[in-house]
């Protein structure tokens, strides 16, 4: 299978030249095959979110290359990379426009990567499609197409963002701790939905999580980050047999440190 994502020698330092200088990503290289569903775990400040933001182009890398589906996107601005990516954020407020209706949000996502002109923003044909997709979420949103998204719960908003991220099939789906702000039951539901959507469309996906169990139970490959680089990379059969205890032990071995993430240990 082809490589969907290729990262070569990625480097990022924040606040360079000040006393707050922080090396976030250090000479990181990584390759995803098409259809890989990779979970990413790591301690606080390990560089998980920075890695995702560098792929998405939220800020530029100091050095290194990001090649997506054979195309070097390292120099592309965020909104251009967005045409190839689907993103769901940790903050449920971030992925949707609160002051716009559910259908208007979906219509924005439907036009990702296409030109936007002076045609009417939503066609009636789309509406039927949206209703059908919303029905599949099973959250009762299909009857509320014109409801402002600001009136939805965090879980509903995340589910909607997930739908938006995958309405146009992305080359890579980036999930940045997208269930962290939700209550456990809703988090489980959104996670289940993520699994379902990724499997259904055969997406290549990257999911950052702080929950070790989730990282082990989902996806076909697990990456553990430490100090801006990859400390562990476990795939295939080895990942299927992995346990939380083993993961912690292997992390200590690989990094020479205790696994330091209160949130991860508690959950």
């Amino acid at each position: 299978m082809n490589n969907m994502l290729e990262i070569n020698g990625l480097q990022k330092t924040f606040n360079k030249g000040t006393i707050n200088q922080k090396l976030a990503i250090e000479n990181l290289s990584l390759t995803f095959k098409e259809g890989d569903f990779v979970t990413v775990i790591g301690g606080n400040g390990a560089g998980k979110s920075t890695l995702l933001n560098l792929i998405a182009g939220v800020y530029p890398a100091d050095a290194g290359q990001v090649i997506l589906d054979g195309k070097d996107i390292s120099k592309m601005p965020e909104h251009k990379r967005a045409c190839l990516l689907g993103r769901v954020f940790q903050d449920p407020m971030m992925g949707t426009a609160a002051g716009m209706g559910i259908e208007e949000n979906l219509a924005m996502a439907y036009r990702r990567g296409k030109g936007r002109g002076l045609k009417w923003g939503i066609s009636s044909r789309e509406r039927a499609k949206y209703r059908e997709k919303l029905q599949a979420l099973d959250l009762g949103l299909e009857g509320r197409l014109s409801t402002k998204v600001g009136l939805l719960s965090g879980g509903q908003r995340q589910a909607l963002t997930l739908l938006m991220a995958t309405l146009q099939k992305p080359r890579l789906l980036l999930l940045d701790e997208h269930t962290a702000a939700l209550d456990p039951r809703t988090a489980a539901k959104v996670l289940e939905l993520s699994d379902h959507i990724i499997a259904k469309h055969g997406l290549t996906a990257m999911m950052v999580t702080h929950n070790m169990r989730d990282a082990i139970e989902h996806g076909n490959r697990l990456i553990m980050m430490h100090e801006g680089n990859i400390a562990l990379d476990i795939a295939g059969e080895a990942k299927k047999k992995l346990t939380v205890e083993e993961l912690i032990a292997r992390f200590s071995q690989a990094s020479g440190q205790e696994f330091a993430n209160d949130r991860a240990l508690l959950s």
Partner: protein, 290 residues
Amino acid sequence: MQFILSFLAACPGAISQGILWGILGIGVFLTYKVLDYADMTVDGSLCTGGAVSAVLITAGMDPLLTLIFATLAGMAAGAVTGLLHTKLHIPAILSGILTQLALYSVNMRIMGRANTALLGQETIITLLNVPHAILIGGVFAVAIIAVLYWFFGTEVGCAIRATGNNDHMARAQGVNTDNMKLFGLVISNGLVGLAGALLSQYQGFADVQMGRGAIVIGLASVIIGEVVVGKQANFSLRMTSIILGAVIYYIIIALVLQAGLNTNDLKLFSAATVALALALPTLKKTIAGK
């Protein structure tokens, strides 16, 4: 009785003035509410529109045709603010203030002096015929609202609204948010330039000071309109409410002037009214919290 009569006599003038300032109010609404951008350019671009129109009329151009040039001049002013903000990363408010200041010199250059009179010139509206001015102003307002309602329903219009609503989301959906901000500022200041042209024709002169405090009147119109129809009203109703808000604002002004307020105190009164209106949500919370 005398008071009521003279107030009533002042009302038609307040209505016609309100409609014209309401067009500026819609421009302010587009930046302040739709784009979430406090654009100070309007204090300058209002006069730019007025100056362009007045100078072209005295040069013999058809007054209706001058509106196009006034609108274009306003758009150019909006583009400058937009470029300062998006390309040079100057904070939003400061970009507007810089353009506004620069426009003072530009407006002086356009007119060659501090004001241009339109005495004896034919104009499309005039305060000498208020009912006619209300009619024409109303036609302009309705046309502008119709066009904007259509535009903000299109794909590009939706992208501008999404940018103002949540620029993270807009970028993640492939929208060039810098361009959308620029676009919004251009449209907004185009409207403001048009309002300035109509105002100068209505009052019979353009003056370099005519835009001073325009942003406050625009905000007052937006806020009063919001009180009348609520925040959840649809887009065309919200824009209509701004025209209504501006009319109400000028009727209140007529009222306080009749009641004996010194005209020099008007700006203090306007600023205090808008400050109070903006503070209302906070004040409500504080009172409810006790």
